[in-house]
């Protein structure tokens, strides 16, 4: 049985980590989660980002969702904002692509060009 006591444990453990994590790199991963995105499979994509970031202990990167981005035929769509606000839009996402984007783009700073919206529309 899961209990609130366990939650208290988690609280104690994470409190120590939090103080180490101030002033991160401030990247943001935004997943399109409107009807179109959900139907196309955005939920597993979002989960893949969360898991992959946690595996690499990249706790300062936020993963959130937004409504319809406007190109429903290319869903699931993920936007990655870096700390100065510039954006890369990835389209037709899958969980596998998400893992690669975390490794290449978020960790190493190399945009995965072949998954971007610019490539898809060529």
């Amino acid at each position: 049985m899961k209990s609130l006591a366990e939650l208290e444990e988690i609280r104690k453990k994470t409190l120590e980590q939090i103080s180490l994590r101030k002033g991160g790199n401030g990247m943001r991963v935004v997943v399109g989660m409107a009807t179109c995105g959900i139907a196309a499979g955005a939920r597993p994509v979002m989960n893949a980002f969360v898991e992959e970031l946690n595996k690499r202990k990249l706790n300062d990167i936020t993963v959130t969702m937004t409504g319809c981005i406007g190109v429903c035929r290319l869903e699931p769509i993920v936007e990655i904002f870096d700390k100065d606000g510039s954006k890369v839009t990835y389209v037709k996402m899958t969980a596998e692509k998400a893992a690669r984007i975390v490794a290449e783009h978020i960790v190493n700073g190399r945009v995965c060009l072949e998954y971007t919206i610019g490539e898809a529309d060529k």
């Binding site: 988690i10 409107a34 959900i38 139907a39 939920r43 979002m46 969360v50």
Partner: protein, 188 residues
């Protein structure tokens, strides 16, 4: 949509866009009457009567990116396909209530799906909203509330990975305890 949890994820987004800061989700399975209902109540902006009348049409939407909105029509189709129905009531500036009912044993009823994951995604997407969840099978019920969890956590954010995992497992257990063996489907 493949399952009911994805519909839930989709419909709650409407509550969030309507500016709600308190969203209650209730799932009630009544085996004796062969009915499962999912109810979402929010305290968002609500709809006026004229919009409420048209809300079931795919051509009414509040979004700006395009002229169609399929969330509610898809849910309604899923309900009627499974011998159920969709009921929406709303009061402008008070909030909206959406109730989707299905016949449990109907061959076309979509499976419940991963409700816990839906809640985790919703919390992750808007951690400042107060979510409450109630699972009910007439005999027993299970409750979950982010306000309570926030209280226990203090300054640790809800979106912390370990907390999210805990919430996922906690709700999963609730689903198994309340709906296990009840819905003619394999849960979890």
């Amino acid at each position: 949509m493949r399952d009911l949890s994805l519909h839930l994820l989709d419909i709650v987004q409407n509550s969030i866009s309507a500016g709600a800061d308190k969203i209650d989700v209730k799932i009630c399975a009544d085996k004796a009457n062969d009915r499962i209902c999912i109810e979402i109540n929010d305290n968002g902006a609500g709809m006026d009567e004229s919009f409420l009348k048209e809300v079931l049409s795919p051509f009414s939407t509040s979004r700006k990116t395009r002229r169609v909105g399929l969330g509610i029509p898809l849910l309604e189709a899923a309900c009627t396909r499974a011998d159920g129905g969709l009921d929406i009531t709303s009061v402008r500036f008070k909030g909206t209530s959406v109730k989707a009912c299905f016949k449990i044993s109907h061959i076309d009823r979509a499976p419940l799906g991963d409700v816990a994951q839906t809640m985790v995604n919703l919390i992750m997407g808007s951690p400042d909203i107060d979510y409450e969840m109630e699972l009910d099978n007439i005999k027993e019920s299970f409750r979950f509330s982010t306000a309570q969890i926030r209280q226990t956590l203090g300054e640790v954010p809800l979106v912390q990975y370990e907390v999210m995992m805990w919430i996922k497992e906690y709700i999963d257990e609730g689903i198994k305890n309340i709906f296990g063996g009840l819905l003619d489907e394999i849960i979890g």
